[in-house]
Structures are given as structure tokens and as C-alpha cells.
């Protein structure tokens, strides 16, 4: 009995020691991936280099986890890794699996619901709590030990056409969440909820109220401003030093017919800087004023400190869906560079504020307008990666032509039009943030690629092609060094971590989560590897 009691006490201690201390999110350890982007910066860059360009060709499967959810394109979520457990999602499902073996800890299944099941991008975590946005726009708090629901809050009304897909962002004890839904004319917002109780702390509305700053960019005496869109469906980034969160907002509504909403339509298609304690707007920059092509600006606003044209700067960069790279001073929101990183034909240049100027003749029309790129955009939700060692932003891009039609009769509502892609090809681009030009591009095939990118200090870039081949490329040259086909579309973004001295690469393909690693017992000599990168003779295999 005493033994049992001791065992119980021991277990309880072990449990209470687990979970995620939000302070560690500022500098996560190598054996964790505790936020959607791995850290707050959005760089998706790992300093791990056990797997590097001299040995990546030896990567082999460490384990595979079958979700048995094989609908649609499969896994889109970025797993979290905390205390040796991975947590990842599908629209109605959450799993916890052991990061060393792929063995399931638990599985949570949400009830049937009418939300749009278009994807689920991951979780947020605070102490022992996981935060999960459901297709019908609820926020669930789950017990990370068991997957049991601790609370359930409604974020938005599914009946009106809202849904949710994004991974919440945890900052101290705040859980920041965004929502989706542009088939109907709704309004976007970011909510901050108390991590323990789920109580709403603040809401930032993407659409100003009549009379507030920004409202002058909407027509007066109409309901356009209340129904103007601006969803918030991709996780933002956070700078602890300035205590500002950076978040991209989505397109205005009605989407492809802007005739009922003349003006810039703030704060749609914008990058906004908010105080996470109050929700107060510090600054904004608008990549696509008065968008009519569905080119939202939700793409990850990546932050880093670096040299820009000879000056040390606090930077924010976004490869935006409209095909432009924006380099901003993140203390002010002022544009330092606005340059196309992919082919476009819709803009006549940029204005004094660095905002692209749209050609009205490239607006969607009843007869069809030929525009480059299509509405999926030059990139989309797929995560970019910034490699500080090489000064390169890696982006899955999409070169495409599309015919855009605006065909509403009467007052435009919802999409009020659509586009039809007639041609497309995908690339992984290594973009020099000083110019926006590609140092190299890697052809990913014809169609659409959604995989996202991870880069590492091993001079490696991980992504996938349109066929589902997971690729490891040389960060300097773009040359393929390793690939594997996982049996379906590879849209589950890759992460990496090191546990027990072994570096893992984890990514999703269709309904399977895969872990890859160097053969067990492999020991590399980092110095020799660095000196003789790529040389087979320097590889040493040793059994433990």
C-alpha cells in the first residue's frame, strides 16, 4: 500500500512537472517545437545540424503514425513538441504521440459539426493545456495529459458562415485566436482569451466602426464596413522585446467585386502590430489596398534583426499572396522594400508608402480578365522559412495565370465572382531579402504545392513537390540531396527536434505523420563534416 501511495505521489509529481512554461517560448530548447512556427519569430529555422548536407542522403524512416483520417489532402497541421510528446490535428481530431517512437498517447475526436472542414493547422499550448480551434469556430481547451475537454468557447457563429482552421498563439497567459469565412460577408477579428478560464480579454476588429480611424477607407452610409471581411486565419508572430504581435489579415468582402466598397478597405489585406495585453493597434501596413483578387495578406510575418542595405534593422518580412515581398521596419511598419518575388501582371508599381498600385483593367470582369497570379496567389498559407545564416527567405511559390470573372447581378454579395486557373507551376524560391530576387529556384512541378518550408543550420531546406515527394535541398544551391514519397499529398509542414542526442525530421503526408532520422547509432563528426561536406568517406557508422 505504501508502495502504491509512493507510486501515486511520484506520478503526480511527474505530471505536475510537465507542461509548457510560457516563458520558454521566447527561446525554445532544441528538444521542443512548442509553437506553430517553432518559436515566436516565424523563421521556422532550426540550429540543429546533426542532419546536414553531408549526411542527409542517409535519412531513413524512424517511425510512422497512421491517423486513419484519409479524407482530402490529409495532414496540414504543424505538430507541437513538448516534453517528448507531439500534438497535431485534423479538422475534427487531435492526437498526442510519443516523439521517439510514434506510439499514440491519446486521440481526441470532436463531434460532427457543420463547419467547413478545409484544414486544421495546429495547436497552441500553455502549461498542461492545449488550445484547438474547431471547424465550427469553437475554441477547445484540452488536457494535454489525456485529451479531455476542459472548456469550450464559441468564437464565432458557424450559421453565419464562419469556420476556423488556425493554430492559436499563446503569449504569457493570453491565447490569441483568429477566424475564417469569406463565402459570406462577415467581419474578421482577433480575440485574446485567458489561458486558464477562456474568458475573453479583448477583441481587435479587423473592420473599424464608423467614425473610427480607418473607417474613411470605406463608403459612408452603407453596410459595407460591417460586412467587409478581413479574416485572421494564419497564426501571427511576436516580438517579446517590443511586446508587439504581428498578424496578417485577409481579403475584403464582397471578394471579387469591389464596386460596393470603394476605398482602401482597412484593415483588410493588412499586416497589423498589436499589443497582446490590450489588443491596441500600434501600426499597420496594407500589402493590397482595395483587393479584388482574394489575395489576403495572412502569410506569416517573419521577424528578425539583420542588416538591410548596410544598416542594422529590426525587420519584418512577408512574401505576400499578391506576389510581392515586403520588408518592413517592425518598429514603425514603414516599408523598406516592396518588390515582386514571383511573376505578376496586375500592378503598375508601388506608391510612396510601398504599397502596390493595382491596375483597374486587371479587376475581375463579366467577360473574364487574364491575371497573373490566380486567386490562390503567389503563395498562400504554407509556411515560409528564413535562414539567417544565408540571409534567405525560402517560399513555396506558385506561378499562374487565371481568368477572373465578376458576375453578380444586383448588389454584390459573398465572392461575387470567381477565377479559373488556366496554367500554374510551383517553385521553391530562395529569396534574397535585400532585393526580393531569387538566388535560386527549384521547380516543384505543375499544379499546386502546399507543403511549407523548414530550414536548418545543416544548410538544408525541407519542403515537398506537387506530387508529394518530401525534399531536402541544399540551402545554398537548391540542389536535391534527398527525397521520399509518403504515399500522398505532403502538406504537413516539416519540423525538427533533437531528443536523446538524435535529430528527427517530422512531417505529414496524406494521413500519415512520418519521422525520419539518421540510422540509429550513426555518429557524425561535425568538424570533419564541415570540412568535407558531402564526402562519403567522412561518414562514420558506429553501433552503440
Amino acid at each position: 500500500m505504501t508502495k502504491i501511495l509512493l507510486a501515486c505521489v511520484g506520478t503526480a509529481l511527474a505530471i505536475s512537472a510537465q507542461g509548457l512554461d510560457p516563458k520558454t517560448l521566447v527561446h525554445p530548447s532544441a528538444d521542443s517545437w512548442p509553437t506553430y512556427n517553432g518559436d515566436y519569430s516565424g523563421k521556422r529555422f532550426s540550429f540543429l545540424r546533426q542532419i546536414n548536407k553531408s549526411n542527409v542522403g542517409m535519412l531513413s524512416m524512424a517511425w510512422a503514425f497512421q491517423t486513419d483520417v484519409n479524407t482530402g489532402p490529409g495532414l496540414k497541421s504543424t505538430p507541437l513538441l513538448v516534453d517528448g510528446s507531439l500534438y497535431f490535428t485534423e479538422p475534427d481530431d487531435v492526437w498526442s504521440v510519443d516523439a521517439r517512437s510514434g506510439q499514440q498517447n491519446w486521440h481526441y475526436h470532436y463531434h460532427d459539426n457543420e463547419g467547413l472542414h478545409i484544414g486544421q493547422r495546429g495547436l497552441g499550448m500553455y502549461k498542461g493545456h492545449l488550445y484547438f480551434e474547431t471547424p465550427d469556430a469553437h475554441l477547445l481547451c484540452l488536457d494535454a495529459r489525456s485529451g479531455e475537454v476542459q472548456w469550450d468557447k464559441v468564437l464565432a457563429d458557424v450559421k453565419q458562415g464562419y469556420w476556423a482552421t488556425m493554430a492559436p498563439l499563446v503569449i504569457r497567459n493570453h491565447v490569441l485566436v483568429g477566424v475564417s469565412g469569406d463565402f459570406n460577408d462577415l467581419h474578421g477579428f482577433i480575440d485574446s482569451l485567458d489561458a486558464e478560464t477562456g474568458k475573453l480579454e479583448w477583441r481587435w476588429d479587423a473592420l473599424p466602426k464608423p467614425g473610427q480611424p480607418g473607417s474613411e477607407t470605406w463608403p459612408a452610409n452603407s453596410d459595407a464596413i460591417q460586412h467587409g471581411g478581413g479574416m485572421t486565419w494564419v497564426t501571427g508572430t511576436y516580438d517579446a522585446e517590443s511586446n508587439l504581435v504581428y498578424w496578417g489579415t485577409a481579403n475584403p468582402n464582397p471578394v471579387m467585386d469591389g464596386s460596393a466598397r470603394p476605398g482602401d478597405n482597412l484593415y483588410t489585406c493588412s499586416i497589423v502590430a498589436l499589443n497582446p495585453d490590450t489588443g491596441k493597434l500600434a501600426w499597420y501596413f496594407q500589402p493590397s489596398p482595395h483587393d479584388v483578387h482574394d489575395w489576403d495578406a495572412v502569410q506569416t510575418p517573419v521577424i528578425f534583426d539583420g542588416d538591410f542595405h548596410g544598416q542594422p534593422r529590426k525587420l519584418l518580412i512577408q512574401a505576400s499572396r499578391n506576389g510581392y515581398l515586403f520588408v518592413l521596419d517592425r518598429t514603425t511598419g514603414k516599408a523598406l522594400l516592396s518588390a515582386p518575388y514571383e511573376e505578376t501582371n496586375w500592378s503598375s508599381g508601388v506608391d510612396a508608402k510601398g504599397r502596390p498600385v493595382g491596375k483597374t483593367e486587371k479587376y475581375p470582369s463579366p467577360a473574364g480578365t487574364l491575371v497573373e497570379p490566380d486567386a490562390i496567389g503567389a503563395t498562400n498559407w504554407m509556411a515560409p522559412s528564413f535562414d539567417p545564416n544565408n540571409g534567405l527567405l525560402f517560399v513555396d511559390t506558385h506561378q499562374s495565370f487565371s481568368l477572373y470573372y465578376a458576375y453578380s447581378t444586383g448588389k454584390p454579395e459573398g465572392f461575387a465572382g470567381r477565377d479559373l486557373t488556366v496554367w500554374s507551376r510551383c517553385y521553391l524560391r530562395a529569396i534574397d531579402y535585400q532585393t526580393g530576387k531569387s538566388r535560386w529556384e527549384h521547380d516543384l512541378g505543375s499544379g499546386w504545392d502546399w507543403s511549407g518550408v523548414l530550414s536548418t543550420a545543416g544548410d538544408l531546406v525541407f519542403s515537398a513537390d506537387v506530387h508529394g515527394n518530401v525534399l531536402a535541398l541544399d540551402a545554398v544551391t537548391g540542389k536535391t540531396l534527398w527525397h521520399v514519397y509518403g504515399g500522398g499529398p505532403a502538406q504537413g509542414p516539416a519540423i525538427t527536434y533533437e531528443i536523446d542526442g538524435r535529430q528527427y525530421l517530422v512531417c505529414g503526408a496524406h494521413g500519415v505523420l512520418y519521422a525520419f532520422a539518421l540510422p540509429e547509432g550513426y555518429v557524425s563528426d561535425p568538424l570533419a563534416a564541415a570540412a568535407q561536406a558531402g564526402s562519403v568517406s567522412q561518414r562514420r557508422l558506429r553501433k552503440r
Partner: protein, 255 residues
Amino acid sequence: MRTVLVIFLFVPVLLLAQDLDNVSPRQVDSSNVGAGKAQFQQTCGFCHGRDARGASGPDLIRSSLVSHDVNGNLIGPVVHKGRPEKGMPAFQLSDTQISNIAQYLHAQAKVAASVSQRIPSEYPVEKLLVGDAAAGQTYFNGHGNCFSCHSSTGDLAHIASKYKPFDLQTRIAFPSGLQPLLNVKDSSGQTFSGEQVYADEFLVTLRDKSNWVHTWKRNTVRVEVHDPLAAHEQLLKSYTDANLHDLFAYLETLR
């Protein structure tokens, strides 16, 4: 797979409905919707717009209350009591009349949602016909260089009768469905020719003239690619909107 098929079969029915008259009877009882439309336009249309998209009164397609209503259970009380503080009088309508109006509003919301999701396949040709057929013919035989591969009396004869106008226009922009032709020489020197079935960075697959399918690792063979759409790819990048609309107007005359 069956689920996917069912979705594809159903979606066009749902999505092609541009106008209320085309809303599928599977979704709503069209006679009730028709009656609801007439009742709505007579009683409510003056303030809410004849199509319910708002006038001096609110847009009811975007209404939260309407989205939560089931067969008039929320709409009914508003109609019966009115909203005097907002200037809406009460209307004494029967339960059937309320139910019909509710069905009309739900059908209108469905139409708005369906238009949001897909371009109607029965796209009106008059919307597409904004170009100049004579200018299109000049482009075809001149700057566009179309005549070097196509002929209005040969492969394109009666082309406008073969394709729906919308499909014809998108095929002028870029025709899909033609696979590259491949010549593959393997390590023994044997050559294979046929239509590409699959190609990525690592593998190449073709179907030969005898209908056999062959796959090779790319780094073990030499592959020659003849893409019949290469010229169209160049053309796509040089088209102006006027070129495209003129060409469409011209090809639309080839009936």
C-alpha cells in the same frame, strides 16, 4: 471515393443556381419559395429590397437572425410584432405566409453562397462576347501566329459547336488535357516513345503505342520531351485581355 463522387454529383446542382428559378427542388420546395418570393416582394421588398439584399432596411441575406431561423420560427415573431423602434411596422401574415417567406430567404442565402463557390457552368455567352471578331481573325492569322498550328476550316472547324462558350474561352487562354510526347533512351540504348503518364524530378512514366506503361528512374535514362502546349505557354504570357476577347469573338463565329 464514393463520398467524393456523391459530392461532385451534388455540388454542380447546388452551385450552378445563379437565380432563384434555378434552385434545385432537392433543396427547397420551389412552389413555396415562389409563393414566398411573391409575398416577400409585396410585403417586405420596399424596405429590404426585392431580392432581400437591403434597401432602406437591412440586407436580410447577411442577417444573423435569418441564418438561425428554422421554417419561420425567428422570422415570424419579427414580422408579427414589427420593430417599431427601427421603423418596421407589424404585419399580420399567416403561418403559411411566414413559412413561405422564410423558405424564400433561405433559398436566396443558398444562392448567394453557391455563387460564392464556383463559376456557373452555364455562363451567359453575351457576358463573354465583348471582343471584335474581325480583330480576332487578324490576330489569329497574324501576330498570334495561331495559323501555324490551327486552321478555321480544319481542326477548329465548328469549334464553337463543340464547346460551351465559357469552356471555349478558357481553352483559348490555355487548352488542358494534352500530355507531352516522350522519347526515352534507357541504359542499354533501347528507345521508347509515347505519351507521358507521369513525370516528376525522379521518375518518368510513359504509355507506348502498344498501350504498355513503362517507368524509369530519371537518372538512369535520357528523356526527350516534346510538349505540344509549349507554344500556348508562350502565347499565354503575351496575351492582352483584348487579344483573348477578340479571339473568343472570332472562334465563337466558327459554328
